[in-house]
């Protein structure tokens, strides 16, 4: 089992766990965290790919750059989601998203 | 200027543009709207006359082909058959506009009414001018939609319910038509209307498909043509104001269906192929059943407009019936009935509207003695009714005559029995109305004091004039049938293009 495979399997495992969490955890914070973690799992996979693609000890910089960009994107989205969640909590006092299509 | 290209388009736009402009006017702007309406319908009339002259006297064909899809085009073509419906709708549009202006005086939502009214005519003209199946389909569906606001114009719950039923029927029919057309085009490529048919080359390989497609097309068209059992929307739609009913029945909706059947049988399949596929006899049977059934139902209705509606159900199927018979006289009968039925039925609806408007008469039982105070209206109604029965020299007689001859030509003598039964049933539901109107004792509450019994109190000329005009036309169409500019002569030209000698 190569190093790449170990990291990659860890990444997809994390991804699957986060998927499960997003669905089964109702607390908003946990959902947001799960999403954030999901991003991290993909970044982990990308890093693994970067190292798999190394040429002469230089890791592939493209996945590297993708991770950096992705992190910022993920951070932004997470932060925005958190701001919304706090506002939601302040408005309703709830920590879970209400269901329904808004038709009521 | 290339008239051949522009004329059909101007024909369309001469009602489309006024429609759009009218929508921007306010209800109170009576004169701008009226002037626009009348000048537009006048213009259309002149154009129609010009086209008729060009086609009939000069032997021209006006054709406008516009790219539509990559392999399809919108084809507008003026030839004798399209001229029939064009002429009918331009003339009747003009007359109905005058009538509607009088009828809707001071009633709300006139802007909406006249806007959709003009759109409705645009769609009908489009249907008439359609030179291929897809163009036909486009305007056919457009017609379904633009008539909806007219049907629900009164805005009462009943009107809205009727409107929903109407929409469901017509859109459902549109779906059948659409799938039929697509199927046909998948097999045959773009289908143009050519006298004698264009898809004979499919006969060998796709016989079963062609039969199913034919059934789909006829079912789709049959909804608008009110073929039993797809006719139920028509009596319901009678809730609409009189000018709408008049135009729906005489020109627009039912005629679109019937015209479509004519096109499909003559210009898509062609008589020969239709006969070989064996689809004509079933069509004739269905049409015959509709003719009888509509008449029988009409007997049981006592609301004037509903009775007229069932009469339409019955009468429009004459066109389908004639189409299903093979022979020049049958073709003549079917196509000429397109016009004749329109003129006669619009007369009847005009009169029904006059009765409703001037005397609040909606039920046949209330019509007693109405002929005393409104002899002209009643005369017009009588002419229409007799025309429907097929009494000579009215237009209806000419149609029935040719259909009768056609039935013998095509060796289907039983059709004559249908025609006669229908005529007798028509008499049975029209003559009592005529009788009541002329000979019944007037109701006190309607007619007022005895001294006024013989006083003539007709509706205003804006209502009376159109009724008399169409009544006169339905008389002249029969009386002068042999004249070279009569509908019959036009129908003979149409038939000659499509003649097929077995």
């Amino acid at each position: 089992m190569s190093l790449f495979l170990i990291y990659a399997l860890a990444a997809v495992g994390l991804f699957a766990i986060c998927l499960h969490a997003i669905i089964t955890r109702s607390h908003l914070l946990r959902k947001i965290l799960a999403l954030n973690m999901m991003g991290s799992s993909v970044f982990l996979l990308l890093i693994a790919i970067a190292y798999r693609n190394s040429v002469e000890e230089t890791a592939d910089p493209v996945p590297h750059a993708m991770v950096l960009t992705g992190i910022v994107v993920a951070v932004s989205a997470t932060a925005f989601a958190l701001a919304l969640a706090r506002r939601y909590h302040a408005e309703t006092g709830e920590t879970e998203l209400s269901d329904g299509d808004g038709s009521t | 200027m290339d008239w051949g290209f522009w004329l059909p388009q101007i024909m369309l736009f001469s009602s489309l543009i006024p429609a759009l402009v009218i929508f921007l006017l306010r209800d109170e702007q009576f004169w701008p709207r009226t002037i626009l309406n009348l000048s537009a319908s006048g213009l259309k009339l002149i154009l129609a006359g010009f086209m008729a002259w060009g086609v009939l006297a000069e032997g021209r064909t006006y054709e406008a082909s516009l790219p539509f899809l990559h392999d399809q085009e919108l084809l507008l073509r003026v030839e004798p058959l399209s001229l029939m419906l064009v002429g009918l709708s331009s003339i009747l549009w003009f007359i109905t506009t005058i009538y509607a202006i009088g009828y809707l005086e001071n009633s709300p939502h006139r802007t909406r009414f006249f806007g959709f009214f003009s759109l409705c005519v645009t769609a009908t003209i489009g249907i008439a001018l359609a030179g291929n199946l897809i163009t036909f389909l486009i305007f056919y569906e457009m017609l379904s939609v633009v008539t909806y606001p007219l049907v629900v114009h009164r805005g009462t719950p009943e009107a809205l319910a009727a409107g929903r039923t109407y929409l469901l029927y017509t859109l459902g029919g549109g779906v059948l038509l659409l799938i039929g057309i697509i199927w046909l085009q998948v097999l045959a490529g773009p289908v143009e209307f050519v006298a004698g048919g264009t898809i004979q080359f499919l006969a060998d390989d796709h016989q079963a498909s062609l039969i199913v497609i034919f059934a789909l097309l006829i079912a789709g068209l049959g909804v608008k043509a009110a073929i039993v059992p797809l006719h139920r929307w028509l009596p319901e739609a009678m809730i609409a104001p009189a000018p709408v009913s008049a135009l729906l029945h005489a020109v627009a909706v039912v005629k679109a269906g019937a015209y479509g059947i004519v096109r499909v049988v003559y210009d898509v399949y062609g008589l020969e192929l239709s006969r070989d596929l064996g689809v004509l006899i079933p069509l004739a049977l269905i049409a015959s059943f509709t003719i009888i059934y509509g008449s029988v139902r009409a007997l049981t209705e006592f609301d004037l407009k509903r009775r007229l509606a069932y009469s339409t159900v019955s009468q429009v199927s004459y066109i389908a019936l004639g189409t299903a018979l093979i022979g020049p006289a049958a073709t003549v009968g079917a196509t000429v009935h397109l016009i004749h039925q329109g003129v006669m039925k619009i007369t009847l609806f005009f009169c029904a509207g006059v009765f409703a408007e001037a005397r609040h008469i909606h039920d046949i039982r209330e019509m007693s003695g109405v002929g005393r105070s409104m002899p002209l209206t009643m005369s017009a109604f009588t002419l229409g009714a007799f025309g429907m029965i097929g009494v000579p020299p009215l237009a209806g007689f000419v149609s029935k005559w040719h259909l009768g001859i056609g039935s013998l030509e095509s060796d289907q003598p039983w059709v004559i029995a249908i025609l006669i039964t229908s005529s007798i049933l028509n008499s049975a539901y029209f003559l009592p109305i005529v009788y009541k109107g002329w000979f019944g004792e007037p109701h006190e509450d309607i007619e007022g004091v005895e001294a006024e019994r013989f006083q003539i109190r007709e509706a205003p000329w804006s209502l009376l004039g159109p009724s008399l005009t169409t009544a006169g036309v339905s008389l002249l169409a029969g009386l002068l049938a042999a004249w070279i500019y009569s509908p019959l002569s036009l129908a003979e030209i149409v038939a000659n293009q499509r003649i097929f000698l077995p």
Binding site: S2, F4, L5, A8, L9, A11, V12, G13, F15, A16, I17, L19, H20, I23, T24, R25, S26, L45, I49, A50, R52, N53, S54, V55, T58, A59, D60, P61, V62, P63, H64, A65, M66, L68, T69, I71, V72, V73, V75, S76, A77, A79, F80, L82, A83, L84, R86, R87, A90, E91, E94, T95, E96, S98, D99 | -
Partner: protein, 242 residues
Amino acid sequence: MDNRDPLSNPGYLVRILSMVLSAGLLAVLIAAVVDLGDEPTGLTARVMEQIDQSGVSHPPTAVLLNFRAYDTWLEVAVLLLAAWGALALRQATRLPEQPQATSAGPVLDWLVRLLVPLLIVTGVYLLWLGTNAPGGAFQAGAVIGAALVLLRLSGYRSVGLLDALWLRGSLLAGFAGFLLIATVLFLAGWTFLEYPPDQAGLLIVIIELLITWTVAVSFVALFVAARPDPDDLNTESEGGHG
């Protein structure tokens, strides 16, 4: 609707189903990963070929700020949007003061005084490092932003109380600077997002500086704006029209 306590997690059925489906997906993902194998594919070689013309020597930075500068540019826009969205949740155009005005206490005070300069220095260092080693504007911005948040948390209430215009300016700086440079060069006839080889390094540094500042302020803004302003709340549960 069901009668479950709305605060509890979904029922067992959902959990089991979710687990089964996630496991299934995991299995497929494993298959995919295994299928990938160990053969390198990637663009390492190409990056190394071209890095000399990029104006920086650290490959990821070259990719980020030159080869794939477009990504980076849009990413700054994402950050801007997030900060902005968070700010737009509030009616006030200015950020609120920290409501709790207590003193942080002597230990924290000392720690903050120690840490903040350190963090700022670290940030600047990271920025400088970015051109030839791991590091760069985002890392630097994050660290500086963290320092500012720390300050605010420990009672320096006015931190982040930028004037509305300045706040906007700071949030925009990174993206706008990037945009300005790119547009001006584009109008001057260069390919869009292409740096003139001689000035590439300089321009990248300028952009990095701006981005660092924007990132820092954005983080603070996000942090501060996330706290809802009681005045903004919809008092009734009518939910409005929308």
